[in-house]
Symmetry: C2
Subunit: 228 residues, 2 copies
């Protein structure tokens, strides 16, 4: 469902050129569960931004569901993002003036065949599933770090995306809350979702069936995990 061929992403800072992605070849099949690990600065978030159609590669191609995304307009990319992809950002990216419930509802605007009532119900359900029943009316600055992270997760999940991209989704969560989130991801995987998760925690990566290791903008290893 995902195919990257010789993807590169170069940032310019002054006269410096940074090869954030330095030639990535990657195939991911439908309903695969992949973890991405690697040192700080190795290109994980950059890879996720390209997979999530939030950024374009400098060169190379990205085929998503057989379609060459490199040829889509920014409107076309936005449509793919809103209908097929759920993205949990490393820095959450919640809208500061909306409370948790509204932040999640907003991602449902693009879901076909919804009414404002069904969106509200669906948003509330997802927030309950990440343990935030008591915090739905809080705005982001009235939430703890781990609560914001869970709103970001709820927002990504509520639209039932076929592809879930999660960048360090448990970085601010204690062990017990983090296990709750991983159980939720595991269940979504059983229900058919394709899941790609960036994490620096071994015990989180082991939920996946395949682990990619990145370094300096390249994938240096790609292993099946043993049965759990």
């Amino acid at each position: 469902v995902i195919r990257l061929q010789d993807v590169r992403r170069i940032y310019k800072v002054g006269v410096e050129r940074i090869h954030a992605l330095d030639g990535i070849d990657l195939d991911i099949r439908k309903n695969e569960y992949v973890a991405v690990m690697g040192p700080s600065g190795s290109g994980k978030s950059t890879l996720m931004n390209i997979l999530g159609c939030l950024d374009r590669c400098t060169s190379g191609t990205y085929e998503l569901n057989g379609r060459n995304t490199t040829r889509l307009s920014s409107g076309g990319l936005a449509h793919v993002r809103n209908t097929q992809i759920g993205f949990v950002f490393q820095s959450f990216e919640l809208l500061p003036r909306l409370n948790a419930l509204k932040n999640v509802e907003l991602s449902l605007i693009y879901a076909a065949g919804t009414t404002w009532l069904s969106r509200r119900t669906r948003a509330r359900e997802t927030l309950v599933r990440v343990g935030l029943t008591e915090r739905v009316k809080h705005r982001p600055n009235q939430l703890s770090g781990g609560e914001k992270q869970r709103v970001a997760i709820a927002r990504a999940l509520s639209n039932n995306p076929s592809i879930l991209l999660a960048d360090e989704p448990t970085g601010n969560l204690d062990t017990k809350t983090s296990e709750g989130v991983m159980k939720l991801f595991d269940q979504l995987h059983r229900e058919g979702q394709t899941i790609i998760i960036v994490t620096h925690e071994e015990h989180v990566a082991r939920h996946a069936e395949r682990i990619l290791q990145m370094r300096d903008g390249q994938i240096i290893s790609d292993e099946r995990t043993g049965p759990n």
Copy 2:
């Protein structure tokens, strides 16, 4: 050096009252190394904000170095923050228009007896110590999550504060980078600093000599860690 007595912090959201801190009694001695753990939403960041003089308690008292902070004006609190405390925020809080070097230099403005050259040198040194030699001219939106986290750490450390408060300082760091940061904290502890670190990771907490567990705004356990 730190004494909290029956400290409470209540937030109001609409008609709801949230007891983020629900009666905290805590003594921390000079040069102690304390880890704080607990579920998401249990009050850890709220506790850190009060210890760091960024927030006032709703009731109770906070003595810092024998001085009752509850009586200080906001100017007095700012002075304490700038001269005695180094704070690593859970969400980094870097200034978006300044590059990494300038973000760190800014925290040195209050250090007595510095020139712009000594501040620049000191800021650069601290960024090298957290492995960011190559990224000093990048602004926050040109940095990875873990790089931003390390700039926040460098900024907290460069002023040689007597008390270091770090809220999830390794939440976005891979294991190897995280060990580098913990080695740095351990060294600062040997040099005499008092360190209080919030973390959800066991292996990070074990660097400390004492671990507090929080739940629902209270400290429910307070244990010495065994020798490492």
